[in-house]
């Protein structure tokens, strides 16, 4: 094995645990809460709430996973 010299130290803690991972529950649970979005009003660009709000949940999904990834990646 050759050991790369100018790279940062090899991954330290192998344990991939973080309390931040609980945040990932948000984008799993919220899109399943039907009463939140099963309605027509308010409309956005003519789209009923049912459609635009569920599309908006994508932003929650991307936001949460990106945040968790950025906050936990140093730990290996």
């Amino acid at each position: 094995m050759t050991s790369p010299q100018n790279e940062p130290a090899p991954p330290r803690s192998r344990d991939d645990r973080s309390p931040l991972y609980w945040l990932l529950l948000i984008p799993v649970v919220v899109p399943l809460l039907v009463p939140l979005f099963n309605a027509n009003d308010p409309k956005l660009f003519g789209l009923p709430r049912f459609y635009w709000l569920q599309l908006a949940f994508i932003i929650i999904g991307v936001g949460t996973t990106t945040f968790v990834y950025q906050m936990t990646k140093r730990r290996g």
Binding site: L47, T64, T65
Partner: protein
Amino acid sequence: MWRNHLTEIVIFTILFLAVSALGFVAARWRRPETLEHLDEWGLGGRSFGGWITWFLLGGDLYTAYTFVAVPALLFGAGAMGFFAVPYTIIIYPMAFLVLVRLWSVSHRHGFVTPADFVRARFGSPTLALVVAITGIVATMPYIALQLVGIEAVLKTMGMTGDSMLARHAPIIIAFAILAGYTYQSGLRAPALIAFVKDILIYIVIAVAVLYIPYKLGGWDKIFGAADAKFAKTPSPTDGTLLNAANQWQYVTLAFGSALALFLYPHSVTAVLASRSRGVIKRNMSALPAYSFLLGLIALLGYMAIAAGIQPMAGATAGTVDSNTVVPLLFEKMFPDWFAGIAFAAVGIGALVPAAIMSIAAANLFTRNIYKEYLRPGATPEQEAKVSKVTSLLVKVGALAFILFLDPQFSIDLQLIGGVVILQTLPAVALGLYTRWFHRGALITGWIAGMAAGFWMLYVTPNAATRHQHFGGSAFALSHLGFDTKVTVYTGFLAVGVNLVVTVLATLVLRAMKTPDGVDATVADDYHVDEGDPRVKDLPEPVTA
């Protein structure tokens, strides 16, 4: 008649041939020392970075069939079809945690398939065989469905005929080409083609969701037309919103489908082909961009209602092929040349997942049947050879589905496939976290889940296709004696049965002190990242 569609056919053909050429050239792309190794042919050298993985997974998970069938579902049933959006949101946070563990343990031990992992984790070749066969059985109709997607486009372009050969000649040729470059280039072919596919799809959808609503008079008009259509139907479960009867179906279908998707062997293949844990995690953050696309595509179904599209006739008299709705909408709203590009996008969109799926199924056969039972000492080179040939056979099999069976049958089978693949959840997904389950209990649970799933599918009729059985995945709880109209996703209930039985059987087998398999993995295996030596590279442990 096809003569009226000449511009479309010419553009479709040119684009199709161009990506086919790309597929053959892919063998030289990121050229390895040899392609005659399963890691190279079947997993692209396990070296794909963020962008390639993004396109590969995107092409893999959002298939041509999705682009055709999801809008068709909204066209026919309304809000229920939109389940595809929550489904493809909730999957990524879950996969974010689970798949990196699978990647790490597979990287360490050189696993190629989910069944490889199960074999090592639970020390049971039999359980691995069950998982492998489940994967192959669930994948075959999925490949066939990609052909349904291409056929919907070909049909719209008037490429139909009376004889079976005339009707199917284009698709046979298309599939022969696909088989050719998959054989030659392995996973590199769909990875490279996925770039083109995605660019085409993005262009088409961007134009479609701006241009078509504009032509139709805005979203208010589109939803007005959809509401008017659903108000006229006798069915109480359609409409642009959910109702008391189908909202649990909506939730369980979204959740169950999300669990199923990453159990499919082709998803695992694309994940294992990536270079590191970071690549997977970054992708799980970024892939929902496709879900946005999918949501917009889904709305094409309502646009088709507003545009007054009538689906073409189905294979059997008196039925309609609702999968033709989107191609017909493109045909009606777009100029010929752009319709040609749109059709090519759908057609090429079918090739990427079809290639990955056939590779994944072939890998399962090679690793968990051929090497396990037929030729234990097979070298990686022999494995690659067997996989290449098997990928051809898998495609012939999928083609046979389309040629000799009613396409509706493939759709029903795909439905069953989702229920079937979910039964590997305890062994594969939960197995990544716990070794508590007994190998015998996992097999028992699998049998119970399959039996429950098949019974529920069997008693479900489909009014639209007039099938008495296997008519859909919405299981009516009234079958269990409840006085209710509520329906729930069959796969969700079936995997519940599976889990309960697995837990109970584990307790029984432990109490009886039945010998359990040996776990070949250690806790540390689930966290390793790139740069970590593989098990085969590690020095032999010194034994005293």
